[in-house]
């Protein structure tokens, strides 16, 4: 067996595995679907470049808060709202027990609340309802607020359901305990994000006291990315009435040291 034969065979086997993994439920491969759907962009060029276009559709994505925000998952919700605002289509948002989304806040994040079908499920029902919604026809995205641990099996089911239907599933992971390590256990989701608040810069350089809040600053850590490298960015969140814009800013923190080129300081202040 020559070397080229072996390479060919490897390529063939890889192709077979890829076909198996991609699932047979994808209909009509000749209808331009073999290339996969357009990824779900984040409207932040640096991050989208890192993700090769954006978050893969037809996959599950986990978003986790940090510290005290783990219980409330405010920034994860804000992040997901931003992502939903970039893409279109109907969304099912499943709250566990309580439903505390504020529609005006969604509007500020760029999401029309009319797109949302809201569900409040019991804590034990969330996964089942989520899976049903992901499998349903005509849903662009499903957002589920999950309290506590997510087993590998359960996440695999969700991931497979999403792959089968093409709907994108966002899991907002919450925990009553701050810095709960169980949220970071391995799952089958395509990406895992941690969104944490950072102290924002002064709205006007050198302004005294605590007058005024400027653009919010987050650190976004891509902790896990199947088929890609993790990454870490610091972004500023402009607060525009219609569409929220995020801009990568140069970070004074070491966390921002990633492969992605960061924009200059002019970019960040142009947004706020």
């Amino acid at each position: 067996m020559t070397r080229t034969d072996r390479t060919d065979m490897l390529a063939r086997l890889r192709g077979q595995i890829a076909r198996m993994e991609r699932h047979t439920s994808r209909l009509a491969p000749d209808a331009g679907w073999d290339a996969g759907p357009i990824p779900w962009g984040l409207a932040v060029p640096e991050i989208d470049r890192h993700l090769q276009g954006g978050l893969p559709r037809g996959a599950a994505h986990e978003v986790i808060g940090q510290g005290g925000d783990m219980a409330l998952a405010v920034l994860p919700a804000r992040f997901v709202a931003h992502v939903l605002g970039v893409g279109g289509g109907p969304v099912v948002w499943i709250g566990a027990g309580l439903f505390d989304l504020h529609a005006d806040g969604l509007v500020r994040a760029g999401v029309d609340p009319g797109r949302l079908l809201c569900v409040t499920a019991g804590r034990d029902d969330v996964l089942a309802v989520c899976e049903d919604s992901v499998r349903a026809c005509g849903v662009a995205a499903v957002v589920a607020e999950l309290e506590g641990a997510l087993s590998l099996t359960a996440s695999r089911r969700l991931q497979l359901a999403a792959e089968g239907s093409g709907a994108t599933c966002f899991l907002i992971r919450r925990s009553r305990r701050p810095n709960d390590r169980t949220l970071f256990q391995p799952t089958a989701s395509a990406t895992r994000w941690r969104i944490a608040a950072l102290p924002s810069p002064a709205p006007i350089a050198g302004s005294p006291g605590m007058r005024g809040v400027g653009a919010a600053r987050w650190s976004m850590d891509l902790l896990r990315y199947r088929g890609g490298r993790p990454g870490s960015w610091i972004v500023e969140v402009g607060d525009a009435p219609d569409r929220l814009v995020m801009a990568a800013v140069p970070a004074g923190r070491a966390a921002a040291a990633t492969a992605c080129p960061v924009a200059g300081p002019a970019a960040c202040h142009a947004v706020a």
Partner: protein, 469 residues
């Protein structure tokens, strides 16, 4: 054998029950048509369905009659006499002739319509039992040989039968004769089995052995749904509400009702909705029949998304979520599946309202001119604050036993209460002054102070946490 004869034939001496050869001997040019009892029965049932214009309960009676339960209906038609007149007119328009009677019991009405003196009989309510004494025993709906025997015994009239001792009669003729007599006289209730409105689509399965397992129920549901959906499909209709009735061995019934957001005639969709509700049914000692009825239907287009397009990349804002909505509503309850609609108010916690997702008309124009939090506490929660000046935001606040040092703050944004509601309502603050504050970690909160800081009527200066950015 002659089954029926028209008036012209009867005038020539042809009577039902005669051998055909004898009749043809009497009338050589007799026109003979093959009797079709099945079609006659079907037509009678259709005619009973037509009579629903008079009353909600109608049923075919034997092979040649129709029962109409006119209780409480006469006044709609101008009294009982007028009602019968209209009925005869209606039959006349169809080219039919008939005899009608109103009485207290179905048995009495049956007897009077066939053996009464006139075409139209109205027996007043509470008529004495002797009213029927002069009628022949055939009026009792008994077998022909029983009637013959009674005639031979000299009991040819109902009055004679009524006066005869009951025990020997029962021994001689069986229980049916006396039951019929009692039913006619109203001593024993006789329910009539009504035809259903002809526009109800339904299907029923009876079982040889009672069933009680969910798997068996599921199989029957699939069969029933397929039948019902085929019927709906033919009519270009879809179901909005379905009732699945389980007839149990002990004679009681259990039922499950599912609703849909829009007209559906997709078997998979309806089958799944029903199957998910099986657990709520107690089979008891077993279920011997199941009936599925479409109790509300609407027109719907012939093409319906059956889920086969899943994953084909077809999705848009107009995509149809009704399948999912139906499943979730039937599973979780209607109050837990909703859409948000805006309310014209500035008070944040009253700004959005939940609209049932299965009802059309949800939606509205949203606008947010000011920064608003993404999450809002259902009710503002009081916080302990360290504030130096009344015009300033607090330096620190304590919420749920954790202390937050305020690094930055923006405000105040004054939101006035709803003046159109009484200020005494506990949830209607006169004035709130909202601040966006950021703690030392960069987390942002929405705090407000009740009152404008100047006037006692405007609020008690308490601080509350309301939302999170």
């Amino acid at each position: 054998m002659i089954a029926a004869a028209d008036p012209a034939a009867r005038a020539q001496g042809v009577v039902p029950g005669q051998p055909l050869a004898q009749a043809q001997a009497l009338v050589p040019d007799l026109q003979v048509l093959e009797a079709q009892p099945d079609r006659d029965a079907a037509d009678l049932a259709r005619l009973a369905g037509r009579c629903l214009w008079m009353s909600p309960l109608t049923a075919p009676d034997g092979v040649d009659g129709i029962w109409i339960d006119a209780s409480g209906c006469a006044h709609l038609h101008g009294g009982e006499h007028a009602m019968l007149g209209r009925l005869l007119d209606d039959l006349g328009r169809l080219g039919l002739s008939g005899r009608v009677a109103i009485a207290d019991t179905p048995g009495a009405a049956h007897a009077l319509a066939r053996h009464g003196r006139s075409r139209r009989t109205v027996l007043p309510a509470g008529a004495p039992e002797t009213m029927f004494d002069s009628l022949p025993v055939e009026a009792l709906r008994i077998a022909g040989d029983t009637a013959d025997m009674l005639h031979r015994l000299g009991l040819g009239r109902i009055g004679a039968v009524r006066a005869a001792p009951r025990a020997p009669l029962a021994r001689r003729f069986g229980p049916l004769l006396l039951t019929r007599l009692d039913q006619m006289l109203g001593r024993v209730a006789e329910p009539i089995r009504p035809v259903l409105a002809p526009d109800i689509v339904q299907a029923r399965r009876g079982f040889v052995e009672p069933i009680s397992t969910p798997d068996a129920f599921r199989m029957v549901i699939d069969a029933l749904v397929a039948e019902v959906c085929a019927a709906l499909h033919r009519r270009g209709e879809g179901a909005r509400r379905l009732d699945l009735v389980f007839e149990r061995v002990d004679g009681t019934t259990r039922s499950v009702r599912v609703g849909t957001a829009r007209a559906v005639h997709n078997p998979a969709h309806l089958g799944r909705l029903l199957a998910e509700r099986i657990e709520s049914v107690e089979p008891g000692f077993g279920v011997e029949a199941m009936r599925l009825a479409v109790t509300a239907a609407e027109r719907c287009g012939p093409v319906q998304d059956d889920g086969a397009r899943m994953g084909s990349g077809h999705r848009g804002d107009d995509a149809d979520l009704s399948v999912l909505v139906d499943r979730l509503v039937n599973r979780l309850g209607p109050e837990r599946v909703f859409r948000l609609t805006p309310v014209a108010t500035h008070v944040p916690e009253r700004r959005q309202r939940r609209m049932p997702a299965d009802r059309a008309g949800a939606g509205g124009i949203w606008s947010a001119d000011w920064p608003r939090p993404i999450r809002l506490l259902p009710a503002p929660e009081p916080v302990r604050v360290t504030a130096l000046l009344p015009d300033h935001p607090p330096h620190a606040f304590t919420w749920r036993r954790s202390r937050h040092e305020v690094a930055r703050a923006d405000g105040p944004e004054r939101i006035l209460g709803e003046w159109w509601r009484p200020a005494t309502d506990a949830d209607n603050d006169r004035v709130r002054e909202y601040w966006i504050v950021e703690d030392r970690d960069g987390r942002r909160f929405w705090l407000f102070r009740r009152g404008d800081g100047q006037h006692a009527w405007s609020g008690d200066q308490g601080w509350f946490l309301h939302g999170f950015f």
